[in-house]
């Protein structure tokens, strides 16, 4: 009986640890999850219907703050944009790709304030355009995320060249 109680107690402790880990993630894990979700949101495995595309495009406000500042000189993406504008970029940009993969590496996450995260990461974009051409690019990105309505939203994104001539 004592052994059975010990096993049950052990299982209960493991369940409690799992529940805390899953339902009360640390701020770092929350930010990592947001980057992971963003990767999934952008990536696509093959052709997709317009309805799916429109549906996905409307999710921009789950990732971007009402005012997000972009600095990406190589892409003519500079200035402040709203989630609605991001949706339009998403719709237009994604339609050009047959396959698209966006992955983040080497995430360095800092919290200068309680509801602000500064993240330095490397982003790799690979894919195939509709005309068959391949795309493979790697950039360093510096992002500022703000916690709003329980979500970490991108408030600033700066694209830095890894190899700057």
């Amino acid at each position: 009986m004592v052994t059975r109680n010990k096993i049950l107690a052990g299982v209960a402790v493991l369940l409690a640890v799992w529940a805390v880990w899953t339902f009360f993630p640390s701020r770092t894990r929350q930010v990592k999850r947001q980057f992971s979700s963003f990767s999934e949101w952008v990536s696509k495995d093959g052709p997709e219907g317009n309805l799916t595309l429109v549906n996905e495009a409307t999710k921009a406000d789950e990732f971007f703050a009402p005012q997000c500042t972009w600095e990406a000189h190589g892409y003519d993406l500079n200035g402040t944009v709203t989630p609605q504008e991001v949706s339009r970029y998403y719709f237009a940009g994604r339609a050009r790709f047959n396959k698209l993969s966006l992955k983040f590496y080497d995430l360095d996450i800092r919290f200068p304030e309680r509801r602000t995260a500064r993240v330095k990461a490397t982003v790799r974009i690979t894919g195939t355009l509709q005309d068959g051409d391949s795309v493979s690019e790697t950039h360093e990105v510096r992002c500022t995320l703000q916690k709003m309505h329980g979500k970490w939203l991108f408030g600033q994104v700066t694209v830095v060249e890894v190899l700057k001539r």
Binding site: K103, Y105, D106, T122, V123, R124, T138, E161, V162, L163, K164, R165
Partner: protein, 164 residues
């Protein structure tokens, strides 16, 4: 068959033998996964020093007790371990680097580069390498400058050197 050879080729599966196998596997995983990682070279930017399709090992502890020097061939992590460039350091932080009619010019002086084979006609105006950065270029200067990935890179992206 000789008894010793038979025991070597077909060992008895004893607990001690299993422990030895696990220890060897763990050491191999740690050494080849984190200290001396095998890799295959893809691309021609370091030819003729490193051939496309060549095999090498990435020796990661190289800069534990020393700093990168001019002329070193280094591995630069672009995206984790998925994308790693092999390049040669041609200038250090604070130095001015330029190309004039294919000749590398550092701090205003032309630099002899015996490892560069083939013709080169690159021209690049002078620029100063920022602090905590190095300027890296591939050895294959025969390819057009526009198609060659080079430039200054942060020291923290240097992950090691090729073993040979």
């Amino acid at each position: 068959m000789d008894e010793r050879l038979r025991r070597f080729l077909f060992p008895s599966i004893t607990p001690a033998f299993l422990v030895r196998v696990v220890l060897v596997a763990l050491c191999a995983y740690g050494f080849f996964g984190f200290v001396c990682t095998p890799f295959v070279i893809r691309g021609k930017s370091m030819e003729s020093t490193y051939r496309d399709g060549g095999f090498d090992f990435l020796w990661k502890p190289h800069y534990l007790y020393s700093k990168p020097q001019r002329g070193d061939v280094v591995a630069i992590s672009l995206a984790g371990e998925d994308v790693v460039y092999l390049k040669r350091i041609v200038a250090l932080a604070g130095q001015t680097v330029a190309f004039k009619d294919g000749v590398l010019v550092v701090d205003g002086r032309p630099v002899a580069e015996p490892y560069v084979k083939g013709p080169c006609d690159w021209n690049l105006p002078p620029r100063t390498v920022e602090a905590d950065h190095v300027y890296v270029v591939g050895d294959n200067r025969s390819m057009p400058m526009e198609q060659h990935d080079f430039g200054q890179v942060s020291l923290r992206r240097i992950v090691g050197v090729p073993l040979w």
